[in-house]
């Protein structure tokens, strides 16, 4: 036996065996790899066959399923064996979207929705130019326009007090304002918590720990019931505004902790490299540290945003008519009373919440991939 060996021919790459690719290969590997896998797969498939048809029948309108399509009558919904009463949803749709906003003024919220979409879509679409102008329009000009449009009292538009705002409009206002305002506050709190200055650090820690340790419901109750007791007589702060502030500060405390996680995940070398180049604290944070830290915690940030979006439904307990509250209120509408009325309403609300949350989730995943510069550690 000799130890000396020299390879004279390199082995060319060959295609993988057929059994390991294609659908058969996939099923073998993923569904029927072991006897246990096979049993579990069979049980799973059986469950789907048992569960899907009733759900399908309930949701999908006739003739495919048993639901009553938009435009149907209440009698159809009351018939035995009828599925979801979509006719009821379409009949009360404007209430779900605008709440008690006067119907003659619906064009105002509509304009707000339209402007918002026109400004938000290009802002979220990286390839569209003029990001800076777009951002100023969306973050500064748009809120002002919205306020005057919705509130009225100028240019001959009748005033519509916030008590009359409702439905999806209010849900979107609270969540958008909450998301946009809590982000910078959260970042500042996270930086403050890492600060070397003891007073700033203590204040930030106290703020975060206080707001995080109290349930949102408590905060909303305090804001809407307790706060007016402490205010000098005659001064009132709008109920919606109070809820907005409560939701924003609550969410910013959570975001601060998420962002802090990102800051701590960065190697110390990044801070050192930034300072060794002579960058000041704010420049190194803004140019080096935060862009990386925030990118690392996109999943956590979006998680907080989604939680905030869903938590907006809690404002119903202080008497604000958000989407869920309008659905709840409409479910006692006797004109549409039927066995499936309430269930259909909640299904609709769940679906609307799901659409928005799912969109946020997909967008963030897409953004994460886009921002990936191949430095997985």
């Amino acid at each position: 036996m000799t130890l000396s060996y020299v390879r004279e021919q390199m082995v060319a790459p060959q295609p993988a065996p057929v059994r390991t690719t294609g659908f058969v290969g996939w099923a073998r590997q993923n569904l029927f790899a072991t006897p246990f896998d096979t049993v579990m797969s069979v049980i799973g498939i059986a469950f789907l066959i048992w569960a899907i048809p009733p759900i399908f029948n309930f949701i999908v309108p006739a003739p495919l399923g048993h639901a009553v399509p938009p435009g149907g009558t209440v009698e159809e919904c009351r018939a035995a064996g009828a599925g979801a009463c979509w006719a009821y949803i379409s009949a009360r749709m404007s209430f779900f979207i605008y709440g008690f906003y006067p119907p003659a003024e619906y064009w105002r919220p509509n304009l707000v929705f339209l402007l918002g979409a026109l400004l938000l879509v290009p802002l979220l679409w990286p390839r569209v130019p003029f990001k800076r102008t777009n951002a100023i329009l969306f973050f500064v000009v748009y809120p002002i326009i919205c306020y005057y449009l919705l509130n009225g009292g100028v240019f001959g538009m009748p005033r519509v007090p916030t008590e009359q705002w409702g439905g999806l409009l209010v849900t979107l206002i609270i969540s958008l304002v909450g998301i946009i305002c809590s982000m910078p506050i959260g970042v500042l709190l996270a930086l403050g918590r890492q600060s070397k200055l003891p007073i700033i650090k203590t204040l930030c820690v106290m703020f975060i720990e206080l707001w995080r340790a109290v349930p949102l419901i408590t905060i909303l109750f305090m804001a809407s019931i307790m706060l007016p007791l402490f205010m000098p007589q005659g001064t009132t702060v709008d109920k919606l505004l109070r809820a907005l502030v409560g939701v924003t500060l609550f969410s910013s405390a959570y975001l601060a902790e998420v962002v802090r996680g990102g800051l701590q995940a960065l190697p110390r070398g990044q801070y050192e490299a930034a300072s060794s180049l002579g960058l000041s604290y704010w420049k190194s944070m803004g140019l080096i540290i935060l862009p990386q830290a925030l990118k690392h915690v996109i999943p956590g940030i979006v998680n907080s945003f989604i939680a905030l979006f869903k938590d907006t439904s809690l404002v119903s307990i202080v008497g604000i008519f958000d989407l869920l509250n309008t659905v709840q209120a409409a479910s006692s509408d006797i004109n549409w009373s039927s066995p499936t009325q309430a269930v259909t309403g909640y299904l609709f609300a769940a679906f609307v919440f799901w659409i928005f949350c799912f969109a946020m989730s997909r967008y963030s995943i897409w953004m994460e991939r886009r921002l990936d510069t191949g430095h997985k550690r």
Binding site: P267, A273, L277, G278, L279, K283, P291, T373, H375
Partner: protein, 266 residues
């Protein structure tokens, strides 16, 4: 270890250019002490570096070499004694610290490039935001230094797409873009694959030939022999021997130096 530390560069070095002629002091450290909590890391450091001088700092790990050069641009704070860099004394005054950092470039063991920026953005960031140089001009300078470290074709890639040796050369170019008067190297080749050490050392040698003031913590004894004017040996937070490379390697005087050299040079 021996193969790496004996890396030589097959190029004639013009040593006549490399004599220190300047009488200008670049760095002056007097009676400097530093503690980490109760631990006395640096003890009574006295070191004067002239302009254009190239100093290699060697020593066993934990001897305080890195801490010493990190004190020079205030990545670490010293508690006693004085450090004067280019005539500016380092104190708690942030303005002075920034002043010193602008003039002192630093290259790290782990490169510390900014992974979210392209190579070109890595190079132009500090000139644009710290020196206020217009973008076009900063990019021209950046390309000049990228050519100098022989990787201009990588300008639009991200650090994650480069090899270790290329990343370290980018890191050197990034420091040079600030046109520093002093360069600090903190074990610049220790994290590199053996095959990539040479390309980084070549860049450092060419810098030395240009008369850059350099302080280099390294285990590359071949580099020290070829390039340094002075080798400083540290142990237990103290400078225990310094000499010109010739005498340092052939005639070490302190017992600890002898032991160290016998461990790394076979």
């Amino acid at each position: 270890m021996s193969e790496i530390s004996e890396t030589t560069v097959d190029r004639e070095i013009d040593t006549s250019q490399m004599k220190v002629s300047s009488t200008e002091v670049a760095i002056d450290i007097v009676g400097m002490h530093k503690w980490y909590g109760d631990f006395h890391v640096l003890r009574d450091i006295n070191l004067r570096v002239m302009k254009g001088e190239r100093i290699v700092i060697a020593g066993p790990s934990g001897s305080g070499k890195s801490t010493l050069i990190r004190c020079i641009n205030r990545l670490e704070e010293h508690q006693q004694g004085d450090i004067v860099v280019n005539g500016t004394e380092l104190t708690n005054d942030l303005k002075r610290i920034d002043e010193v950092r602008r003039e002192v470039g630093m290259v790290f063991q782990h490169f510390n490039l900014f992974p979210h920026l392209t190579i070109l953005q890595n190079l132009t960031l500090a000139p644009i935001w710290v020196r206020g140089i217009p973008k076009a001009e900063a990019e021209a300078t950046a390309m000049h230094y990228l050519e100098r470290v022989k990787i201009p074709e990588q300008a639009n890639k991200y650090p994650g797409q480069l090899s270790g040796g290329q990343q370290q050369r980018v890191a050197i170019a990034r420091s040079l873009c600030m046109q520093p008067r002093i360069m600090l190297f903190d074990e610049p080749t220790s994290a590199l694959d053996p095959e990539m050490v040479k390309e980084v050392l070549e860049v450092m040698i060419s810098l030395a030939e240009d008369g850059m003031t350099m302080l280099c913590v390294t285990h590359e004894m071949g580099f020290a022999r070829q390039v340094a004017n002075r080798v400083i040996f540290m142990d237990q937070g103290q400078i225990i021997e310094q000499n010109d490379p010739e005498n340092f390697f052939s005639n070490p005087r302190h017992e600890r130096t002898k032991l160290f050299l016998s461990q790394i040079l076979h």
